[in-house]
Amino acid sequence: MTPNLHLWLIPILPLAGAAINGLFGKRFSRQTVAAVALAFCGAAFAMALWIAAQFSSLSLPHVEVLATWLRSNGFSVDYSFAIDQLSLVMLLIVSGVGFLIHIYSVGYMWEEGGYYRFFSYLNLFMFFMLTLVLASNYLLMFVGWEGVGLASYLLIGFFFLRDSAAAAGKKAFIVNRIGDFGFLIALFLMIKHFGTLDFQRVFDAVKPFSPETAGVGFLTAIALLLMLGAAGKSAQIPLYVWLPDAMEGPTPVSALIHAATMVTAGVYMVARSHVIFERAPSALMVVAIIGTLTAFFAATIGIAQTDIKKVLAYSTISQLGYMFLACGVAAFSVGIFHLMTHAFFKGLLFLAAGSVIHAVGGEQDMRKMGGLRKHIPWTFWTMTIATFAIAGIPPFAGFFSKDEILWRAYQASWIYWLVGVVTAFLTSFYMFRLWFMTFFGEYRGAAEASHGHDEHAAHGTHSGPGSRAEAPFHSAQGGSAPHGHGGIHESPAIMLAPLVILAVLSVVGGWVGWPGSLGGNNRFDQFLGPVFRVSTPAVNSEHAQAGESLPPEKETEGAEPKTGQRTELIFTGISVGAGLLGLFLAWLLYLRRPELPDQLAASLHGLYSAVAHKYWIDELYAWLFVKPLIALSGTVLWRGIDQGVIDATLNGSADGARELSDEVRHMQSGNVRSYAAWVAVGATAVIAYMVWVGLRTP
C-alpha cells in the first residue's frame, strides 16, 4: 500500500495564497502580503522536498485521483496527480526556483504599487505551473498550460499603465493560444483513437504501435500538433515572437516565468509524450529542426540587442531551442537536464540583471552601463558564474548539459551538431558582450557612480531607484533621468541571497550529469532512465538508414557506444573551444577595442540592420496576418457582408467592394519580404499536409 501523499495540496497551497492576497491583500501591509505569499509558496516547496525524501520508497508512477472533473458517456477526465522521476525533477525545479524568486521579489518589488496584486499573481502562477507538472492526464495538464498563460498575461501586463506592457501581455496570450489550438486538436485525436487522455492509458495504447517510418500516420499528427503547442509555450519558431515583448513584465517575472519555468513547459510536455514522439520519427525530426533553427536564429538576434533583458530573452529562446534539439534526437533526459541547469543559470542571469537594473535606477540599456563590477560586487560575481555557466565553460552547470546535447545531436546528424556548436559560440559571445558592457570599462550612465558600497547596509527601508512607486511606468523608457536618491548601489540581502543560492546551483547543478567520457557516471541520466527507457519501440534496425532519421535504440540512456569515448572528448574540446572563442571575441570587441563593433556594424550594414531589427519578423507577421485579418473583418465581413449584403444596404456594399479590391491590390506588390513569407507559408503547408494525412489515417 503506497502512502497517500496528498499531491493535490502542492498546487492548492499557492492557490490559497493567491486567493488570500487577491481578496484581502489590499488591506494588508506589505510585510503581511509577503509573508502570506512566501508561506504558501514555501509550503509547496517543503512538500516537494518531503516527497523527494521518501521518493525511493514509492512505487512509480505514483498516481492519486482526487475527483472526476468531466464525464460524457464513456469518456471522463479526473483531477488526478502523479509523480514519477520526471515530474519530481520538474516539481523541485518549479517549487524551488519559484520559492527563491518569491524571496527575491519581496525586495525587488518593495517600492512598487500593487504589491499584493503582484504576489497574488505570482502565487497563482505557481498553482498553475505545479498543476501542469503534476497532472496525470493531458487535460489537467492543459489546465495548467492555459493557466500559466493567464498568469503570464497578468504579470507581463503588471505595469498596465504602460501601453507597451498591456500590448505585450495580450500578444503573449494570443500567440500562446495559437499553440494551444494545436494542443487541443492533438487531444481530440487522442480521444478519438484512444478514448482517454490519461497519460498511462494513452501511452499503453500507443506502445503496441511501431514507429511510423513509412509516411505519416496519426501518431505523427498528434506529435506535430503537440509540438505546435510546445512551440507556442516555449517560444520556438514560428511562435517565439511573444517572448521578447514579455520582458515588459517585472524582472522577477522574467526570471521565473519567462526563463526558468513556464517557457520550459513545452519541453516538459514533449518529454512527457516521448512515447508518442518516438513512434513518429518525422515529427521528431521536425522538433529537432525547429529546435536547431530557433537556437541559432535567436542567438544571432541576441548579438545585436542593447537592452539587457532583451539579450537574455533571445538567449532564453535560443537555449530552449537546444532543449528541443535534444528532444528531437530522442535524448529526452538530456533535454530535461539542460532544462534544469538552464533554470538555475538563466533564472540567476535574470535576477542578477534585475539587480543591475535596480542598481542603476531602472536603466536597461547596456550602452548606459559599464564598470559596474566595483559598485555591485555580489551581483557581479553571481552573474559571472551564470555567464560562464551559459557559455558552456567547465565545470559550470551549463557545460555538462550543453555538451551532452551537442554530442547526442552529432550522433543523429552532424548538421545539428555544427549549428549547435556555432550557436554555442554565439551564445558565449553575446553573453560575454553583456558581461563586458555591463560590468567592465567606464560607467556610461547617468546615475551617480559614487558611494555605491556603503549603501546596502541601510537598505531595509530605502531600496529601489528613486520614487519607484511611480517609477515602474516610466522606468523602461530608455533615458531615464538620474534618480535623486544617490547613486549605484548593491541590492538588499533579501535579493542577494537567492542570487547566491542560484549561483551555487549554477556551478554544482551540472555535476549530477557528469558524463562517462569524463570519468563520471551521469547519475541524472540514470535517475530519469526509468521514465524514458521503458518504451523503446520494437523496431527493426534497418530503418536507421539516413543520418537525419535517428536510430531509435539510441534513446536507451546509458548505453552509449564505447567507441565514441575518444570522439566524445574531442567534441567536448570543440564545444568548450567555441565558448572560449566567444569570450575572447567579446573581450576584443567590447573591452579591448570598443570602437570596433560600430565599425563592423557600419561595414556590414545590411546584415547588421536585419539582425538589429530582429529580421523584421514582427513587422512581417503584422503585415501578413494581423492587418489583413483586421481589414478583412472590418471592411469585408462587417461593413461588407453584414451591413452591405445581409442588411442589403447598397451603400455599404459598394464601399466594401472598393476596399476589398484595394486590399487585393496591396497583396500583389512584390518584394523580398513577401517571398520570404511565401517560403514560410510553404513550410507551414507541408507540415499542415503531414498533419492532415495523419488525421485521415484511421
Binding site: 458517456n73 498596465f160 506592457a165 487541443l184 486538436i185 478519438k192 473583418s633 453584414d642 485521415r696
Partner: protein, 504 residues
C-alpha cells in the same frame, strides 16, 4: 408524487407573472416596486431550486409531469414537464432575473412599474417555453416572449430603440410563422399538439402521407424559427441592433436566455421529432454554425461599440451550440447544453458590466474609455474574470462546454472540430483586445478619472455570476449529471444510423 412535485412547474412558471400582476395594483412608489420585483424574482429562484433538488438524475425522460386537458376542440393540453435539457435552462432564467432587477435599480427611473411588470412577464414566458410539452402551449409562450422583450427595447432602450424593437419583432415573428404552419400541419394529421404523442407517431410511421418533401418542409419550418432566434448566420443581423439599443436587463435576458430558446428548440423539436431530417441536413447547418463561430468572432473583433462586440461574440458562442447539437455525439450535445448555460452566465454578466459602465458614461464606445483599471479596480477585476470565463479558460465555465462540443464535433467530422477550435484563438483576440483598450494604459478622457468604482448593489449583482462561472468550471458534473441521460435519450434514434454519420 406529492402535490408540490406535481405543481412545481406551474408555480415556477407563473410566480413571476403573478408578481407582475400584483405590481399593477401597486402605488407608483418606485422604491417599493423595485423591492417587490426583487422579492418576487428571488422567490421564483428559490422555488426553481426545488427542481434540481428533487430531479431524479438517473432518469432520462420527463419529470414533474403535469398533463391536463385545457381545450377540447382543438385538442390542446396544459402539458408541462421537464428533463435534463430544460431543467437548467429554467434555473438559468430564474437565476438571471434577480440580477436583472438589481442591475436596473437605478438605470430605470421612468415608468418603473411598467418596466418590472414587463420583466416579470418576460420571465414567465421564457420559463414557459422550456417546460411546455404541448406544442400549442409552447408556441403561445414562444410568441409571448416577443411582446415584453420588444416593449423593453422600444420603451427603455437607447437612441434607435424603435427601429431595433421593430426589427427584432418582425424578424423573429415572421420566422415563427413557419413553425406555426408546421405545428398546425402536424395537428391536422394527428389531432394532437402533444410532443410525446407526436414523437411516437412519427417514429412509428403512423402519420399518413409523411413522405416525400413533407418531412423536410416540416423540419425547415421549425428550423427557420429557431435559426433566427439563435441567431444562426446569416439570420443574425437583428441581434447586434437589438442589443445595442436594449436596456441592460433586456440584453442580459436576451443573450442569457432568449437566444437559447432557439438552440433548445433545435435540440428538442428538430432532433426530437425529425431525427432523419436532422441527419440529412446536418452538413449545411454545421457549415453555417462554423461560419458563425469564425465570422461572429472576426466581426466582434473590429466593433467600436462594446455592446455590439459582446453581441457578435454571442453569435460566435451560439455557433458552438449549434455545432455541438448537429454533431449528434454525446459529447457534442452535452457540450452544447453546457455552452448554453455558461454563455448565459458569462455573457449575461458581460452585459451587466457594460450596463454599469453605461450608467456612468452613457456610451458604449470603446474609444471613450481606456485606462479604467486605475479609477475602477474592482470593476476591472470582475470584468477580467468574466472575460476569462468567456474566452474559455479552463476551470471557468466557458471551457467545459467548448471542449466537449469541439471534441464531439471532431469525432463526427474531423474538420468540423478543427475549424471550430480556431474559435479559441479568435475569442482571445477580440476579448483581450477590447479589455486592453478599455482598461489598460493611462486614462485618456479626463471625465473617466472620477468614475466611481462598483457600489454594493452592483457587487451583489456581479458576485453570483462570478461564483457561478467558477463553480461551473470546476465542478461541471453537478450540471452534466442531469444533462447526460437526457441528451443520450435524444440520441437514441441516431445510434441506428450513427455509423453513417460518423463514418469516414
Amino acid at each position: 408524487m406529492n402535490w408540490l412535485d406535481n405543481n412545481i412547474l406551474t408555480l415556477v412558471t407563473f410566480a413571476p407573472a403573478i408578481g407582475g400582476l400584483l405590481l399593477l395594483f401597486f402605488p407608483r412608489r418606485d422604491r417599493d416596486i423595485r423591492v417587490f420585483a426583487l422579492v418576487v424574482s428571488l422567490l421564483a429562484f428559490v422555488l426553481s431550486l426545488h427542481l434540481p433538488a428533487h430531479f431524479n438524475r438517473g432518469l432520462a425522460g420527463f419529470q414533474f409531469d403535469k398533463d391536463v386537458s385545457w381545450i377540447t376542440t382543438p385538442n390542446i393540453h396544459y402539458h408541462m414537464a421537464m428533463d435534463g435539457i430544460s431543467l437548467w435552462l429554467v434555473v438559468l432564467t430564474t437565476f438571471l432575473t434577480p440580477l436583472c432587477v438589481l442591475i436596473s435599480w437605478k438605470s430605470i427611473h421612468d415608468r418603473v412599474k411598467e418596466f418590472f411588470i414587463l420583466l416579470l412577464v418576460l420571465e414567465t414566458s421564457l420559463i414557459g417555453v422550456f417546460v411546455s410539452l404541448d406544442l400549442f402551449l409552447f408556441y403561445f409562450f414562444w410568441e409571448a416572449t416577443l411582446i415584453p422583450m420588444a416593449l423593453l427595447i422600444g420603451m427603455y432602450g437607447h437612441g434607435r430603440r424603435v427601429y431595433a424593437a421593430v426589427k427584432f419583432f418582425l424578424y423573429t415573428m415572421i420566422a415563427s410563422v413557419f413553425m406555426l404552419a408546421a405545428i398546425l400541419w402536424l395537428y391536422s394529421k394527428t389531432g394532437s399538439f402533444d410532443f410525446v404523442v407526436l414523437q411516437s407517431a412519427i417514429r412509428n410511421g403512423s402519420i399518413p402521407n409523411f413522405s416525400g418533401n413533407l418531412p423536410l418542409l416540416l423540419f425547415l419550418g421549425f428550423f427557420v424559427a429557431f435559426a433566427v432566434k439563435v441567431p444562426l448566420f446569416p439570420f443574425h443581423t437583428w441581434l447586434p441592433d437589438a442589443h445595442v439599443e436594449a436596456p441592460t436587463a433586456g440584453s442580459v435576458l436576451l443573450a442569457g436566455v432568449l437566444l437559447k430558446m432557439g438552440t433548445y428548440g433545435m435540440l428538442r423539436f428538430n432532433l426530437g421529432l425529425f431525427p432523419e431530417q436532422s441527419r440529412r441536413n446536418a452538413s449545411w447547418i454545421v457549415v453555417l454554425a462554423l461560419i458563425g463561430i469564425v465570422y461572429g468572432a472576426l466581426v466582434a473583433m473590429v466593433q467600436p461599440n462594446m455592446k455590439k462586440l459582446i453581441a457578435y461574440s454571442s453569435i460566435s458562442h451560439l455557433g458552438f451550440v449549434v455545432l455541438g447539437i448537429f454533431s449528434f455525439t454525446q459529447a457534442g450535445l452535452n457540450g452544447a447544453m453546457f455552452v448554453m448555460l455558461a454563455h448565459g452566465v458569462s455573457t449575461g454578466a458581460l452585459f451587466m458590466l457594460a450596463g454599469i459602465l453605461y450608467e456612468r458614461r452613457h456610451t458604449y464606445e470603446i474609444s471613450e474609455f481606456g485606462g479604467l483599471a486605475t479609477p475602477m479596480p474592482a470593476y476591472s477585476t470582475f470584468f477580467l474574470f468574466i472575460v476569462l470565463a468567456s474566452l474559455g479558460l479552463p476551470l471557468l465555465n466557458g471551457f467545459v462546454g467548448e471542449f466537449l462540443v469541439l471534441s464531439g464535433a471532431f469525432q463526427a467530422k474531423m474538420w468540423w472540430g478543427v475549424v471550430g477550435a480556431t474559435g479559441v484563438i479568435w475569442s482571445a483576440c477580440y476579448l483581450l483586445w477590447m479589455y486592453q483598450r478599455v482598461f489598460f494604459g493611462t486614462v485618456k478622457h479626463p471625465e473617466n478619472n472620477s468614475l466611481p468604482d462598483l457600489d454594493l448593489r452592483e457587487r451583489v449583482a456581479l458576485w453570483p455570476a462570478a461564483v457561478m462561472a467558477l463553480v461551473m468550471g470546476v465542478a461541471p458534473l453537478l450540471w452534466l449529471n442531469a444533462i447526460d441521460p437526457a441528451v443520450h435519450n435524444v440520441l437514441v434514434p441516431f445510434t441506428q444510423f450513427a455509423s453513417k454519420v460518423v463514418g469516414r
